[in-house]
């Protein structure tokens, strides 16, 4: 794949996970997992259903605590941090089952992701309406510009509720919600779920386009569509039963015997 730059190993690490372990009762959802992401890298996280991919995201973002191991972001420990603190430190995510607030407008949904850049003071919001209006207009322009990268017609419908939109637009908005605060690390949990082949491919074009503009953004993507993984990742990590069974470029892992067994059931 010529369009994928070689893994930039000289770049500093954004995410560093060591020996990450998480149990649910007797099940080891994550088993001593080491996982690194360098600045500007796109890493694919693949593996069969139940192999621990989403659990990994949930541990990184603080929804679950790790039973053992450490996670650091930019060198700072975030193992026991709350989801709020981890978001403030620069990690954003999308969800496997799209979790937008359906009755709210496109703009509102994106602004939920912009929480840390908005003035949350009671006095500012209720009394200083002129200052609020200035911040509102600036945020609106920013959100609209971001949506425009994905889909210009969608950017003209910013005040419409999300409920009536097709899946691809909802995915786009979810990704905009994650990107609006300019995170360092973006976690994409199966962005192709519920979409056709063409839609998925279109969405990946958009993601690559956005990444060009947000220099230095690192992405971890969980995905079942191997075409997507092949096309956009620099590097892949394969999980099975919570353990890392292979890592390397897509070509390397696709040739790996253990991966073929886990994925394709080859004997």
């Amino acid at each position: 794949m010529t369009q994928n730059p070689a893994p930039r190993e000289e770049m500093p690490l954004v995410l560093e996970a060591r020996g990450l372990t998480r149990r649910f009762g007797g099940v080891l959802a994550l088993d001593h997992l080491d996982f690194d992401v360098a600045q500007g890298e796109i890493v694919g996280l693949i593996g069969p259903n139940g192999s621990g991919k989403t659990t990994f995201f949930n541990v990184i973002t603080g929804i679950y605590w790790a039973d053992a191991g450490h996670v650091s972001l930019d060198g700072a420990e975030i193992t026991r941090a709350t989801p709020q603190a981890i978001y403030h430190a620069g990690v954003s995510r999308t969800f496997q089952r799209s979790r937008l607030s359906l009755p709210l407008s496109i703009f509102d949904n994106i602004m939920i992701g912009n929480h840390k850049r908005l003035n949350q003071g009671l006095w500012f919001n209720l009394v200083r309406r002129q200052a609020f209006k200035a911040e509102f207009e600036e945020s609106f322009a920013k959100a609209q510009a971001l949506v425009e990268v994905f889909d210009p017609p969608l950017a003209r419908r910013m005040l419409e509720p999300v409920a009536g939109l097709p899946m691809i637009d909802r995915r786009r908005i979810e990704i905009c919600r994650a990107l609006i605060s300019r995170p360092q690390l973006l976690l994409l949990d199966e962005p192709s779920a519920g979409m056709t082949h063409e839609e998925t491919s279109q969405l990946m074009d958009d993601i690559l386009e956005v990444r060009k503009r947000l220099d230095g953004l690192s992405i971890v993507i969980v995905e079942h569509e191997m075409g997507v993984i092949e096309r956009i990742t620099n590097r892949c990590v394969v999980l099975n039963f919570g353990r890392k069974i292979a890592a390397g470029t897509f070509a390397e892992i696709a040739a790996d015997r253990m991966v073929q067994e886990a994925y394709l059931g080859l004997q």
Binding site: T61, Q84, F95, L104, I112, L126, K133, F140, L159
Partner: protein, 387 residues
């Protein structure tokens, strides 16, 4: 004020017409005494609304309200004041209108809690009662200025409500609601057994006095005798306008967005930095404060407080107003309060069955129009604003 420039006059007209028609209808309804005439009027009103809906006349009204809310709000204030002027010597009607206005304030408080933050409060009447009892006690034992007393009543409601914070924050959905039901039942029992607070008989509340102006004396202007309730009416209106502005600005701000986000998906909201506890507390306390302020003034309007005025059933009435009007829409709250408070008072036949009527009304609304009479529109931060 954000005016939408070119189509200014046209977009204002449907909303203005609706305000005028509703006010005229209300004045006639309040004036008529004959029971058969009242039934006919109500039937006419319901028929007119249904017909207008069928003919598509309500859409332009809604559009008008979303584009020109500031101007229509002013018109609605003028219209309500006109009701006060028409009934300037009628104690009964003015007392009724005061009750409507103050119940609207209380339900606006509930609307912050349930409509935005998703915390269902079944103890609304209890917090209303805390305000009223605060007025009674402070009046008896201290000389606190009465305007300050409104503030203290609201703060007391928020303070006592904060006792519920821990259980409300630790439970979700229905369980938090059960906590508030328990509080409502406890509160009434507490009042009944507490002799300092007058037990089951309750307490007298002295009328309001501001800078020597006694609200309980009739007013005479140029030989025209005005009901003393007009004082309370004006005061209630001022509080309602303030409450309306606060609720509106709250909804149209990042805070309103935070509350919606945590109501709709706490986990996702938490992943985007939202401090769930902080905003739930803010909404709960602010809501109870508004309910408490309304209760304080209401206590002074009616002149006495007793446990039976602040029962769980009364809390249910407040919640049913919210469901009927449209959760999270302050205009809906105002309209629904008018219906729920005035109709049983005018229609004496159903007075004894009024709780049955509320129950039936809520069921009909939930079945056929689950979002209420005036569903909450998508948030517009500034009415008439366009990108």
């Amino acid at each position: 004020m954000a005016l939408s420039g070119n189509d200014g006059g046209r977009s204002l007209l449907p909303g203005a017409a609706a305000v005028v028609l509703v006010t005229a209808f209300l004045i006639i309804l309040l004036r008529v005494e004959n029971q058969k005439a009242i039934i006919a009027l109500l039937a006419l009103g319901i028929g007119a609304v249904i017909a207008a809906n069928r003919l598509g006349l309500l859409k332009p009204v809604a559009h008008s309200f979303s584009e020109r809310e500031d101007a229509l709000g002013l018109l609605a204030i003028v219209a309500t004041l006109a009701v006060g002027v028409v009934f300037h010597e009628d104690h009964f009607v003015l007392l009724l209108v005061c009750t409507v206005v103050l119940y609207t304030v209380a339900t606006l408080g509930l609307s912050i809690q349930f409509g935005y933050a998703g915390v269902l409060n079944f103890a609304g009447a209890s917090f209303f009662g805390i305000g009223a009892y605060t007025a009674a006690v402070l009046n008896q034992h201290t000389a606190v200025p009465h305007l300050l007393m409104l503030l203290i009543g609201g703060l007391m409601a928020a303070l006592i409500g904060s006792l519920l914070l821990l259980p409300v924050l630790r439970t979700r959905g229905h369980y938090a609601a059960v906590v508030t039901i328990a509080f409502a039942l406890l509160f009434k029992t507490f009042l009944e057994v507490n002799d300092v607070l007058g037990g089951p008989q309750g307490l007298q509340v002295r009328g309001m006095t501001i800078l020597g102006w006694s609200f309980n004396d009739n007013i005479e202007i140029g030989g025209v005798e005005l009901s003393f309730y007009l004082n309370y009416f004006v005061m209630s209106m001022m509080i309602m306008v303030l409450a309306f502005v606060v609720v509106r600005r709250l909804e149209r701000s990042w805070i309103g967005l935070n509350l919606d986000a945590l109501r709709l998906d706490e986990t996702a909201a938490g992943c985007f930095g939202l401090n769930i506890v902080r905003w739930k507390i803010t909404a709960f306390l602010l809501g109870n404060f508004l309910i408490g302020v309304a209760g304080t003034l209401h206590g002074m309007v009616v002149g006495f407080v007793q446990p039976n005025n602040y029962t769980f059933a009364d809390s249910l009435v407040l919640v049913s107003i919210l469901l009927l009007g449209g959760i999270g829409n302050p205009w809906g709250v105002a309209v629904a309060t008018v219906i729920v408070v005035i109709v049983p008072e005018k229609l004496q036949v159903i007075q004894e069955y009024r709780f049955m009527l509320y129950a039936a009304l809520v069921m009909i609304v939930l079945l056929f129009r689950p979002e209420g009479l005036l569903p909450r529109p998508v948030r517009r931060y500034f009415p008439g604003w366009r990108p």
